[in-house]
């Protein structure tokens, strides 16, 4: 584990050292760019507030992400068995992805208020499509020999799907899950930025309004940690559910 992480740790340490040195040598105002040591101090000083906002953000992201996974899975199965519906709906799903998040987030708040619903909806909207695409592409990657074999055994469409298509889509699904996980945290922060009572997004907004670049960067660090935690959970689930060395 450590030898694999060593290059990234060395690179990160070099970047942080360079950033720290530049802030000190060039005497950059901490209002513009605080040094990493300043960000760490802010993190320690604000750990209680940051922790509580991070929990709120993680709760929304996890809820929205889970709903999105369930919705994407159900939709992918429906579209797999009704390709005519896929032909009709896919352009609409694609169009939904072209709406900019900065326009959508305030509209969601306007329509659904400052509660949980608009934030969860935004996360679902942003993370749903990559997962749907990855699932549908995964089903199509089922080796024809697997389908033929099952069909020759008398298996119906559902059995072929359950025994061959679904397991074949695992690698593709996990790739979509990872992409969507990163979007989930960003979308939650965007929604909170547009209007919320708690969360990293509203914390960043308040810190920015107070010209506290150190707190903004501390919040960015927390948001990156949340994303890594979500990716770590997916990796763990991946490892726990892998069956066999040839199963991606």
């Amino acid at each position: 584990m450590l030898p694999r992480l060593l290059p990234v740790l060395i690179l990160a340490a070099c970047l942080l050292a360079g950033w720290e040195a530049w802030c000190r040598i060039a005497e950059v105002s901490p209002l513009i760019l605080p040094p990493p040591s300043g960000v760490v101090r802010a993190l320690i000083a604000e750990r209680a507030a940051l922790g509580s906002h991070a929990l709120a953000t993680m709760g929304v992201a996890a809820l929205g992400f889970s709903l999105s996974v369930a919705f994407a899975f159900a939709t992918s199965v429906a579209l797999h068995f009704a390709p005519w519906a896929a032909r009709g709906l896919m352009p609409l799903f694609v169009a939904s992805q072209t709406v900019p998040l900065v326009a959508l987030a305030p509209l969601m708040i306007l329509w659904f208020g400052f509660g949980l619903l608009p934030k969860v909806l935004l996360v679902v909207l942003v993370t749903f499509f990559p997962m749907l695409l990855s699932l549908m592409s995964g089903y199509r990657q089922t080796p024809p020999a697997f389908r033929d074999l099952l069909a020759s055994m008398g298996a119906g469409r559902w059995t072929v799907f359950r025994r061959a298509s679904l397991p074949s889509a695992r690698a593709s699904f996990l790739a979509g899950l990872r992409i969507s996980a990163t979007y989930a945290i960003v979308a939650t922060i965007f929604a909170e930025y547009a209007g919320a009572r708690r969360g990293i997004g509203i914390y960043i907004l308040a810190a920015k309004n107070n010209f506290r670049a150190d707190l903004v960067l501390a919040a960015v660090f927390v948001s990156a940690t949340l994303t890594l935690a979500l990716l770590g959970a997916i990796r763990l689930a991946d490892r726990m559910t892998t069956r066999g060395p040839g199963h991606a």
Binding site: L150, R163, A164, P167, R243
Partner: protein, 244 residues
Amino acid sequence: MLEIRSLTIRDGHREILRDLSLRLPESGVTALIGPSGCGKTSVLKWLAGILPLEAQGTVTLDGAPISTPHPALSYQPQSDALFPWLTVAENAALGLRVAGLSARAARARVAPLFAPFGLAGTEDMFPAQLSGGMRQRAAFLRTIVQDSRFVLLDEPFSALDAVTRLAMQDWLAARLSERPRGVLLVTHDLHEATGLADRILVMAANPGRIIAEIPVPLARESRSETALAPLREHLKSLLMEKAR
């Protein structure tokens, strides 16, 4: 007796197979050989009920028409088609599970066959952990355990190296002699056809049709290279003549 009558297969306007009829006895191996594109695999896929092309013809079992896929026929595709996410035992039991047996009952049916198939100790391994020959044996186990009266084999050894292929041919002959079934074997390999089959059907292409039916009169134990050489020469000249 399994009988195909007047099978014609089309891919759009192209006729792949024209008016093919053949009988498959209850025991013994019938090899189907011919050049690429003559429709050998299409015949097998049609019998297995998985041919995605337009086909006309009838198949009867003991004189009664049947629709395919049918439990009396089991099919083994060209690749071993072992599911990488299933253990060897789960792969072997796949046909039984699809037929509606519980996991426990299916496992109980396949378990005694692992030793005779040379797979003892691999039950809980995954296909990626097996050698090419072992994978092929596991695929055969999956086909054989379905206990169908007829077995359709589509170039089952084509992915194996020459040495493993020869060993697997002997092994298959031994397995088939233990429990005779009607086998339809599609192959490109004249050595395989003459070594395993009791009867060889030679096909020509454009459109696919049977041009010769050649019995292999030698008992398996007396099928030496020298004894089979004239038969192979005859088959080769038949195939070359039609290819010209």
